[in-house]
């Protein structure tokens, strides 16, 4: 990923509306994101662009992950 894109993503992970997501996304970005392939990195960017409660509901299992591309990343985030 290009530096600029990564930094934009970083800002959108470290400045969320919910503290729970600040912590979870920052942790994953610092520890795990690098190891994803391009497609999974794109999926993570998509997740990071979601509204806070929508994403939090996915991470706590309150909502189902409909998109199969996102499911493995959600699973990783839940374990991170």
């Amino acid at each position: 990923m290009e530096r600029k894109d990564y930094e934009r993503l970083r800002w959108r992970c470290i400045r969320r509306a919910l503290l729970e997501l600040d912590i979870t996304l920052t942790r994953f970005l610092d520890n795990g994101f690098d190891r994803l392939n391009d497609e999974d990195q794109r999926a993570f960017v998509e997740l990071a662009d979601m509204e806070d409660y929508d994403l939090w509901d996915l991470l706590t299992g309150k909502a189902e992950v409909a998109d199969p591309r996102l499911a493995p990343i959600v699973a990783l985030l839940r374990k991170s």
């Binding site: 470290i14 400045r15 969320r16 509306a17 503290l19 729970e20 912590i23 509204e51």
Partner: protein, 594 residues
């Protein structure tokens, strides 16, 4: 170097509840209005508010704004200004109903009215019995509120500058505020927003503490900018703490966990609340529990390597009950403490939750400061509302659900006052020659410094110092040391170094700039807390205990006054509390007990 200038009638810094509410007033009055935000508006921290917003609509049972006013004055431990409190409580119904018209999906009663729930501290008939006063949209009140107001602003043609960070307030020699300097994160470009009215709605600064329920974004930028421009900060010693945040993470654990039988324990597994509150034990009130926890930690009975937390134990409860009655708690334990709470106790600490102090304002939303003997002289062109401002309605402690009300009422009145001042002829004033010098100097120092302090380490040192020395329970000697320590941290914060020097999307630079704001707030808090030698509301000192002469340690004869911290020389002055409401009789001084 020439810096682009963007001209607006009004510039609002902050797109949370307060900023969006102000913007509606300005844009709908036909004024050209810019709103700057570090994040997309609906990612502002107002989203996290779940509990509700207070208004004495009386939809479920009889209620009256004077009762709400009484509860607010009492909650504030009489440090709130009674003119501002009357103004807010009286206006509550109007702003909540407006929100309904903006499309806010409030919970409803069977006959279609806004449904109201009970909430701690909401009482009818001047403290007699609980009343249902809180209006909510499921457990997503703040979120629903922001969405409704954002849509309204889009319709009104408010111009949003998203992922822009305001850096410094522009003030001319006569003290007028003329706008802000700001950085577009995507390009790193510095731009001047030249305005006839400037409104701050930048939210809280809870990240000064190591343990905070606040999201990372709450770095007190508005307070830092005001302080650098020589504007004092009011009542900064008053911070509300919640007893059970996950240690290290801050994420809130609801009171319901103790309600279901959770027990607090120290390093020797002792149920210590039995010593502090023999009857209520773990279910004692928030401040009693928080203080007991702080005492255990201070006296060396905390847990972990640093002995800096206690344990919340639910391992004796039936797992099925936990999963059913406390959904989410298992997940929170796993995610944020690395603990399976069915098998092991959760590490918890009293956690910073809300900032009562801030930029001093009149209830009209105009910023005020001492000048030529007048303690409340208006700073022309400058307005503030929401958590960054101090009207002061929360005084020494905020009543639950009153902060969402604060941002609606004072967001609106700041907007109204700006409209009024602009219509009365307030023009663009000439920008000073050195308009962006301070900002450019800060940026270039960051870009050129070698061998400076690391941002992350400096922030951590500040947070540890604040938590240890100015936490929920305060000790005279610790506060004294705290002042010396925070001034040391300040030296580092003025010498930050960043490795990444890129212009575009440089998050290291942004975090360093935020750190320069955090330290202003931390310093104001520590110095103000050390200076106030009584206990009042959320400021509780070990050396100002409960006594017959001073119930709860409160000393009205000497300390019924607002603190003003001057960032220019770290000095403190005081101004009287306004005990005179606008139209009703004052709420007379009394001991605060629930």
């Amino acid at each position: 170097m020439s810096i682009p200038v963007l001209k607006f009638d009004a510039v609002i810094v902050g797109a949370g509840g307060a900023g969006l509410r102000s913007a509606i007033q300005l844009s709908e009055a036909g004024l050209k209005t810019a709103v700057l935000s570090k994040v997309f508006p609906t990612r502002s921290h107002t989203v996290a508010a779940q509990g509700g917003v207070a208004a004495s609509l009386g939809n479920s049972e009889e209620d009256h704004w004077t009762w709400h006013m009484y509860d607010t004055v009492k909650g504030s431990d009489w440090l709130g200004d009674q003119d501002a409190i009357e103004f807010m409580c009286k206006k509550a119904n109007e702003v909540v109903v407006e929100l309904e018209h903006y499309g806010m999906p409030f919970d409803r009663t069977d006959n279609g009215k806004i449904y109201q729930r009970p909430f701690g501290g909401h009482m009818s008939n001047f403290g007699e019995k609980p009343v249902r006063r809180s209006c909510a949209a499921a457990d997503r009140t703040g979120h629903a509120m922001l969405h409704a107001m954002y849509q309204r602003n889009v319709k009104a043609n408010t111009q949003f500058f998203v992922e822009w960070m305001a850096l410094d307030l522009i003030r001319d020699e006569e003290g007028h505020v003329l706008g802000v300097t700001a950085m577009e994160m995507e390009t790193g470009q510095i731009v001047i927003f030249h305005a006839r009215a400037t409104i701050f709605a930048t939210g809280g600064a809870g990240r000064i503490f190591y343990s905070s329920t606040n999201a990372f974004i709450n770095t007190g930028d508005g307070l830092g900018m005001a302080a650098r421009a020589g504007i004092p900060l009011e009542d900064m010693e008053f911070w509300q703490f919640h007893p059970t945040g996950v240690a290290g993470a801050g994420v809130l654990i609801t009171e319901g966990v103790r309600g279901e039988g959770g027990i607090l324990r120290n390093s020797s597994k002792e149920r210590f609340m039995e010593r502090y509150a023999p009857n209520a034990k773990d279910l004692a009130s928030r401040d009693v529990v928080s203080r007991a926890m702080a005492t255990e930690i201070k006296e060396g009975r905390g847990c972990g390597v640093n002995k800096d937390y206690v344990l919340l134990d639910i391992t004796h409860l039936d797992p099925a009950t936990i999963m059913k009655r406390l959904p989410g708690i298992h997940e929170i334990g796993l995610q944020f403490a690395g603990v399976d709470c069915l098998k092991e106790p959760l590490p918890v600490v009293p956690t910073c939750h809300y900032q009562m102090g801030g930029i001093p304002t009149h209830y009209s939303g105009r910023v005020v400061m001492p000048k030529d003997g007048d303690m409340n002289s208006v700073v022309p062109g400058f307005y503030a509302g929401g958590e960054c401002a101090c009207a002061s309605v929360h005084g020494a402690n905020r009543l639950g659900t009153n902060s969402l009300l604060d941002l609606l009422v004072f967001g609106k009145s700041a907007g109204d006052s700006a409209v009024e001042d602009l219509k009365a002829g307030r023009a663009h004033r000439e920008l000073p020659k050195d308009v962006a010098d301070r900002t450019l100097a800060r940026i270039s120092a960051l870009d050129n410094r070698k061998g400076g302090a690391n941002v992350h380490e400096t922030r951590l040192a500040m947070q540890r110092t604040m938590q240890d020395h100015a936490g929920v329970f305060r000790f005279g000697d610790m506060l004294k040391q705290g002042v010396a320590k925070i001034l040391e941290v300040e030296k580092a914060a003025r010498q930050l170094e960043i490795k990444d020097k890129s212009m575009a999307w440089n998050t290291a630079r942004t975090e360093a700039l935020e750190m320069e704001n955090l330290i202003e707030v931390a310093k104001a808090t520590m110095v103000s807390a050390e200076a106030r030698k009584e206990s009042r509301g959320a400021h509780v000192r070990d050396d100002a205990p409960d006594s017959a002469e001073f119930p709860n340690g409160r000393n009205d004869k000497e300390w019924l006054k607002h603190t003003l911290f001057s960032p220019v020389d770290n000095s403190i002055s005081y101004k009287p509390v306004n005990m005179q409401p606008l139209t009703v009789e004052a709420v007379a001084l009394k001991t605060r007990s629930y």
